[in-house]
């Protein structure tokens, strides 16, 4: 190969590694995104790692609302047992959600959550909650699920968040499929079998 051809080939190889690096970066974005969200509380991601006990209770208060959502493919009724409470910053509190399987088969759900306004998320610390835990309910079964949390007094020190009056914690339950051995009565729910009637117009 001529000198020039060698140079060209070497350069092309370098550029190809750059391409590979960018592809790698886009796949790495998945865990990196998650890490970034956790560290910064971005997009309403709560502080669930390094959960320390609150340092002290302040006299200042904030309202906390509880919101519940169900994915339409899950035959459950899901609601918070308290709609809105006023809590002191730094005070540990307990809230409850109730879920009931109103379908005719045992089903399993898993909840995800977020907090709004998003900028409040770093200050809303959950000590214990039922998120990301699989819950299997038999038909007609009702369970009460606790959330233990506190709101960090730093909320009112931060320029961005000191005007906040209400924080809303939202949970959404999604159905998940478990394999035969994990599910009680065996029959799987077909998740993509929902049909929509066409709109008339």
């Amino acid at each position: 190969m001529s000198q020039r051809a060698k140079k060209n080939a070497r350069f092309a190889f370098m550029l190809t590694t750059l391409v590979a690096a960018m592809i790698g970066l886009s796949f790495a974005s998945v865990p990196l995104y998650q890490l970034f969200c956790q560290v910064t509380g971005y997009g309403g991601t709560l502080n669930t790692e390094n959960v320390a006990a609150p340092t002290g209770v302040s006299d200042k208060t904030v309202k906390v609302r509880f919101d519940a959502n169900i994915n339409p493919d899950l035959a459950w009724r899901f609601k918070p047992l308290q709609r809105e409470v006023t809590v002191k910053l730094g005070e540990e509190n307990l809230a409850f959600y109730e879920a009931e399987n109103v379908g005719s088969k045992p089903t399993t759900g898993q909840a995800i959550f977020n907090v709004t306004p998003f900028k409040a998320a770093p200050y809303f610390t959950k000590i214990e909650c039922f998120c990301f835990t699989e819950q299997t309910l038999a038909p007609g079964q009702i369970v009460s699920m606790p959330v233990q949390y506190y709101v960090d007094p730093e909320l009112f020190e931060d320029l961005d968040t000191k005007e906040i009056s209400t924080i809303t914690l939202s949970y959404t339950f999604y159905p998940i499929e478990l394999d035969e051995s994990e599910q009680e009565d065996g029959e799987k729910i077909n998740l993509s079998a929902w049909v929509t009637a066409p709109n008339k117009s």
Partner: protein
């Protein structure tokens, strides 16, 4: 010196037999021609789709397209075809391949066979895209392909998968092309042609190639994630399983925003060459121009979330993306003013390429300023997903970039074919097209201001006024496009030939030193640029 080179070239001008020449090419000019051809074919198909859409939108109610999935597929395919198979092949594959080696004094590209692979990959990608539209229900997701709409729950069947494969293949084509261009430009410039003596078109292609290299792989990653979500049980974008639909948007737009600069920067390069040639003056502030394009390219990588202002992220982040996006206006302004300053004091010849370049400058400014409105996250609250956005991007892409393509065509067709285009008809075609695209897209600003959303097949009755006018504009544009093909046909059949330099003293770049049509092999002896005046 050029006489000797010409005589030399003649000896080696025997071309390969037809099949070898056009299907197994390793010649940058022929491959450039192939790219221009596919761009034109795709333009007709993509254009037909858009004209069908405008036909439906001319009046309220549904007249022609009552299958709304098909409507959404038209919208999607139109977008993909115009971006990936019309503008990019014409500017980068077409003019880039043809003129980068000529301008830097190289005999061909660094990897001539890979050049050919790039072209045929593009053809494969195009076929896959067309297949995606006819197999199954078609991808009715918009070119942005957001999940969950694009996942297997809401778009079952093979359509979206074919679309994904199409983009993988087209992306591979462009990445290989980008590597080829970068290596060629860095390693194969003629002696004395330093980086700071390269024509601005070559700068533009170089910067574009780097953008392609860095942005397309991210699209490839995102597409692969969507493919595995759809078919192999992963949950990247499935919230129920811990994934996030917003992740797709970040990845897509991280590619998507640089993509629009990939589309326009080569056009910037062409405009610089043309303005300089027809003002008979070197470009004002050469270095500023080169660095402005680089700045646009670099900053273009850190503004992607201005496409996502309504997703619901942090206000501080929206503030950052607002400011960062507006920053791009600064280097862009430098370019506009530099072009005007190039013309200032010049001796301007109003030939057809110059008409296109002037129209480009003006209409790019019109499109660019509406971008300032959209850049502001708060202002965007009333414009997101309305026809105001559609008007904005069509002004900068469908008008400006396409004017750039026509500009390059009329500037270089003589060099490529050796023939003279019919001047009168070409001027007429310019005006018809110019009027057409303005009548087509300007009223869409008003529709958007009044609140008309995007991607709808029917609209509430009060929106009819501007929609009707816009559709009339589409008709005029269609006529203008047809006229272009008439001009093309007449040019290729013309008896009037042109010489090596049909534009006179203003044309100072190396392609004007070789014959017209450019011989099959050029610069077999490298021109010596040492000691010559710099390109600026």
């Amino acid at each position: 010196m050029s006489n000797e080179a010409t005589a030399h070239d003649h000896h080696h001008d025997h071309k390969p037999p037809f099949f070898q020449r056009w299907f197994c090419s390793t010649n940058h000019k022929d491959i450039g021609t192939l790219y221009l051809a596919i761009s034109m074919v795709a333009a007709i198909i993509g254009g037909l789709m858009s004209w069908y859409i405008r036909l439906e939108l001319a009046e309220p109610g549904i007249q022609y397209i009552d299958d709304f999935q098909f409507y959404n597929v038209l919208v999607t395919a139109h977008g993909f075809i115009m971006v990936f198979f019309v503008v990019m092949p014409a500017l980068i594959g077409g003019f880039g391949n043809w003129f980068v080696p000529l301008m830097i004094g190289a005999p061909d590209m660094a990897f001539p066979r890979m050049n050919n692979i790039s072209f045929w990959l593009l053809v494969a990608g195009f076929i896959l895209l067309l297949l995606s539209a006819v197999i199954g229900d078609g991808p009715g997701t918009g070119w942005t392909v957001y999940p969950p709409l694009s996942d297997s729950n809401f778009h079952p069947g093979p359509s979206v998968d074919f679309g994904i494969l199409s983009l993988h293949v087209a992306g591979a084509s462009s990445i290989l092309g980008a590597i080829n261009l970068i290596v060629t430009i860095f390693n194969m410039r003629a002696p004395g042609m330093t980086i700071h003596r390269m024509p601005l078109f070559v700068w533009a292609i170089l910067i574009t190639a780097f953008l392609l290299l860095l942005a397309l792989p991210v699209l490839a990653g995102a597409l692969t994630m969507l493919l595995t979500d759809r078919n192999f049980g992963t949950h990247f974008f499935d919230p129920g399983a811990g994934g996030d639909p917003v992740l797709w948007q970040h990845l897509f737009w991280f590619f998507g925003h640089p993509e629009v600069y990939i589309i326009i920067i080569p056009a910037f390069g062409i405009i610089s060459q043309v303005i300089s040639t027809f003002s008979q003056k070197p470009v004002f502030g050469y270095l500023g121009m080169a660095y402005a394009m680089s700045a646009i390219g670099v900053v273009g990588f850190v503004v992607w979330a201005h496409h996502m202002f309504t997703v619901g992220f942090d206000v501080d982040t929206r503030a950052y993306f607002t400011v960062a996006t507006m920053v791009i206006a600064v280097p862009t302004g430098v370019k506009i003013f530099s072009w005007l300053a190039t013309m200032w004091g010049g001796s301007i010849k109003m030939e057809v390429p110059m008409l296109y370049a002037l129209a480009f400058i003006f209409l790019f400014v019109v499109g660019g300023v509406t971008g300032i409105t959209l850049a502001n996250a708060s202002a965007d609250l009333v414009f997101h997903d309305t026809y105001f956005v559609v008007a904005h991007f069509h002004y900068v892409m469908a008008i400006a970039a396409i004017l750039g393509m026509f500009c390059g065509f009329f500037y270089w067709i003589g060099k490529m074919s050796g023939k003279q285009y019919p001047r009168g008809l070409a001027k007429l075609q310019f005006w018809v097209f110019f009027i057409g695209v303005n009548v087509l897209f300007f009223p869409q600003h008003f529709s958007g201001l009044a609140g008309m959303p995007r991607r709808i097949p029917d609209y509430p009755d009060p929106y009819v006024a501007w929609n009707y006018i816009s559709s009339v504009g589409a008709l005029i544009t269609a006529v203008g496009t047809l006229l272009f093909f008439v001009v093309l046909w007449m040019t290729l059949r013309s008896k009037e030939t042109v010489g090596a330099n049909q534009w006179g003293v203003g044309a100072t770049t190396l392609e004007w030193t070789v014959e017209s049509p450019a011989p099959f092999h050029t610069h077999e002896e490298l021109p010596d640029m040492t000691g010559k005046a710099p390109a600026e």
